[in-house]
Every structure is written in C-alpha cells, then in structure tokens.
C-alpha cells in the first residue's frame, strides 16, 4: 500500500520524462536521475508528512532511496514507522 503512495508521488511530482512511466518498484531512482538533489529533499519532506516520521539527514543515504522497494524497506526498519503501522487495537 505504502509503495503505491510513494510511487504515485514520485510519478506525479518528480518524474520529468513521461517515457519512463509507469514506474516499477525496482526502478532505480538515483542512478537513473529520476530523483536529483532537490527531488530527494521533496521526497523526504513528503515521506515525513505522509507517514508522520522525522528523518535525520544521516538517514538520507543512497541505499535507502535507491528505489521504491528500498524506501519501503527502510521505512519498515524504523521503529516509529512500525508503531504507526500497528492497528489501534494492537497498540492498546
């Protein structure tokens, strides 16, 4: 579900060449130039707003943003993201 949200955002806001759409979860984002420096900042702001997490700039490394799959894997590894994912009744 989250991968679709992230993929849609990247497709809508960051992709400048429509020829590469539709975006796959495995499409390289940084190496291919889909996401550049300011694009990465946009993406970080979007993820923070969307998922209610605060990312340290030290976490913004290429491995975590190499693809949509990599972003999702990184998010799943964060304890605050996992907590946000838990259903209300499980948290109670």
């Amino acid at each position: 579900m989250d991968d679709a949200v992230i993929r849609d955002y990247i497709s809508r806001e960051l992709v400048r060449d429509p020829a590469i759409l539709p975006l796959e979860n495995s499409t390289p984002l940084l190496d291919s130039g889909v996401v550049d420096s300011l694009g990465l900042l946009r993406l970080v702001v979007f993820i923070q707003d969307q998922f209610g997490i605060v990312m340290d700039d030290l976490d913004v490394v290429p491995e975590h943003f190499a693809s949509v799959d990599a972003i999702c894997a990184y998010l799943r590894s964060r304890p605050d993201y996992a907590a946000a994912e838990q259903p209300e009744d499980a948290r109670a």
Partner: protein
C-alpha cells in the same frame, strides 16, 4: 570529472574568469598566464596582503592592469564586449570598453586580495567591509528555520559569506569549486595548490565544507535543509546558466534586458524548508579597497514560486546594473550563451558546460 547534476553552480572563482581566453590563446601564452596566476596567488598577493590596505589593493590593481595588458587576444575580447553592449544595451557596458575591461581585471585581482585578508578571524577584511542589513538576517533567524542568502557571481561574494560567518552566523555554502570543473586538465600539484591557496582560506570561515552538488551527490539539498533546520545560514548563487541535466526545470525570467534561462532551485529550497530567503550583494567602492555588503529583507514567496524567483532575478539584475564590473560572467561566453544573453557560438568555448 562527472557531469554536474543539480541546479546550482555557485563556486566560480577569480581563478577561471578568463577560461574562454585560455581556450583560445596559444599554448605559450596560456602557460604564461597560468604561471602568473599561480605566482600571484602563492606569493604576490599573500605578501601584499600583509601591507596596509591602501598598498595591498594598489598592488592588486597593478596586477589586474598587467593581467589585462597580457590578455592573449585582447582585441577580440574588447570586440566581444562591444557586441555585448549592442545586445544588452549601453546601460550595462559603457562605451569605453577598454576601461571597463581593465576594471574588470582589477576587481578580480582585488577579490584575491580580499581572500588573503581573511587571515586570522578575518579582521583585516572585516575592517574594510561595511555590513548593511544584518538586522534582516537576525530577524529572519528569529523564526528558527535558518535563512537562505541568495547572491550572484558578483563582487567578492565568497569573502562576504566569510564575513557573515565570522559575524556570528554559522554559514554553509552550496557550490562547486571552480577548479573541480576541469580537474582532468590540472596537474595533481595544481589541484592541491587551489585546495590550499583558495579553499582552505575560505573554509576556515564556514560551518562545514562546501556542499558541492556533483552528479551522484544527491544528499546536497538534504544537507542544506539540515543546516537550515539547525537555524544556520545557507548561501548560494542563482545566476549561472543551467547545465544540461537541469534544463527541464529551468525557467525564463527577465534578466539584463533579455529572457534568461535560470534554475529556481533557491526558491524550491526555501519552499521545502520554510526558511526565509534574502538577497546579499557585495560591491567595491571607487577606492578599490572598501566594500559594502548589503543584505535585503526577506523575499516574499507567498506560495507563488515563479513570482518569487522573478523577484530574486530582479534583485540580481539590479545589482549588476548598479555595479556591472562586479559580475563575473562578462568574459565567459559559455555562461552568457547558456543564459540566453548571447546567441550560441563556437562549441569549443564551452569548457564548463561539457
């Protein structure tokens, strides 16, 4: 050197303002100028900078005059200025293009002297520069979101940024060192020389090393945002022509009488971080040694990025019109063509834009 990828191209320097001349000059002339430049940076300017300011800047002006007289293809360069004058109007470049060109080289030599006077806590330079509008920066930082200072390749901007840092405002610059554009053409000695003679002097008065947005350095904007988040100052120049990778997000804006092509990255950064965006320009007075650094009130952004960027461009335009000799790009045909201020010319001129 990889092709630069992101939107800013800010750290041009006096070392390469005559790059197109070098490209056209003969091998011997080029070597002579290159050697002379190294001698000026390594020995003449550092020694002259120890003298009282009046003498230091007299030496710098003499060096600028010499540089001008030894331009390998001076008639062609003056003709280039005349063509620019026709294209952009007499308001920017005076009829006496020889005096204009000579002053241009004097100013570049004086900027090297400025950097030499950054020694210690930069007091030798601070005594010569009047800071105006520093209260705007203080007020901007009271919001706790940092502040972005936008400038141009204009005047002694790197020295000015250093003075802001030494005035108690932690500052980081986004920009590429000029010599990194053509590292492959420089020897290891020369690269090391510029790192020591230039970068070291400037970086002593920075919060962190330059954020150089080369290809693959995708964290630059995030690092800048982190500095702003710490309520620090981030500086960058918005007047370079966009590199190929940035053309897609470049916009046109009225600049120097034309519709110039520029990248509005500075406004995007301000929008994403909420940091106030101010303009800062430093110009030299007629005695060549005193300068005025002016910081503007924040530029209104109001959710309209295009209009905000046009305000930035208008501020750069006004600064250049008021002090045209301070702008670095008059002799850089690749920049002028990339901006759309000159029709595209000989591809061999485009040393920076490969």
């Amino acid at each position: 050197m990889p092709v630069p990828e992101t939107e800013t191209r800010t750290a041009s320097a006096p070392v390469a303002t005559d790059s197109t001349v070098e490209a056209d000059g003969s091998g011997e002339q080029w070597k002579l100028r290159r050697g002379g430049r190294l001698a000026y940076w390594a020995a003449i300017a550092p020694l002259a900078a120890m003298l009282p300011a009046g003498l230091s800047y007299r030496v710098a002006c003499a060096w600028g005059d010499l540089t001008y007289r030894l331009l390998p293809d001076r008639p062609a360069e003056l003709e280039h200025l005349r063509r620019l004058r026709e294209a952009l109007g007499a308001e920017l470049i005076p009829e006496d293009v020889e005096t204009f060109a000579r002053d241009f080289w004097r100013f570049r030599a004086c900027e090297v002297m400025d950097l030499m006077k950054l020694r210690g806590r930069a007091r030798p330079l601070a005594k010569l520069v009047e800071l105006r509008g520093i209260e705007h920066l203080e007020q901007a930082l009271e919001q706790g979101r940092g502040a972005i200072l936008c400038s141009a390749h204009f005047g002694s901007y790197l020295g000015a940024f250093s003075l802001i840092h030494t005035s108690g405002f932690p500052l980081t610059n986004i920009g590429r060192w000029d010599w990194n554009y053509h590292r492959s053409e420089l020897s290891a000695f020369e690269r090391r020389f510029w790192d020591l003679a230039y970068a070291r002097r400037v970086l002593r008065h920075r919060q962190q090393p330059n954020l150089e947005p080369w290809q693959g350095r995708n964290q630059v904007a995030v690092q800048a945002a982190a500095a702003l988040h710490r309520n620090e100052v981030v500086t960058l120049c918005s007047d370079p022509a966009p590199i190929a990778a940035d053309r897609a997000r470049a916009v046109e804006a009225p600049f120097l009488g034309r519709r110039a092509t520029l990248v509005p990255g500075v406004v995007t950064l301000a929008e994403l971080t909420g940091a106030p965006l101010l303009m800062a320009f430093c110009h030299r007075l007629d005695d060549y040694r005193h300068q005025v650094l002016e910081i503007s009130p924040p530029i209104p952004i109001d959710g309209d990025a295009d209009a905000a960027f046009e305000r930035c461009v208008a501020a750069m335009d006004a600064a250049i019109r008021a002090h045209p000799r301070e702008w670095y790009f008059w002799f850089q045909r690749d920049e002028l063509e990339g901006l759309g201020l000159l029709p595209a010319g000989n591809p061999s001129d485009r040393r920076h834009r490969q």
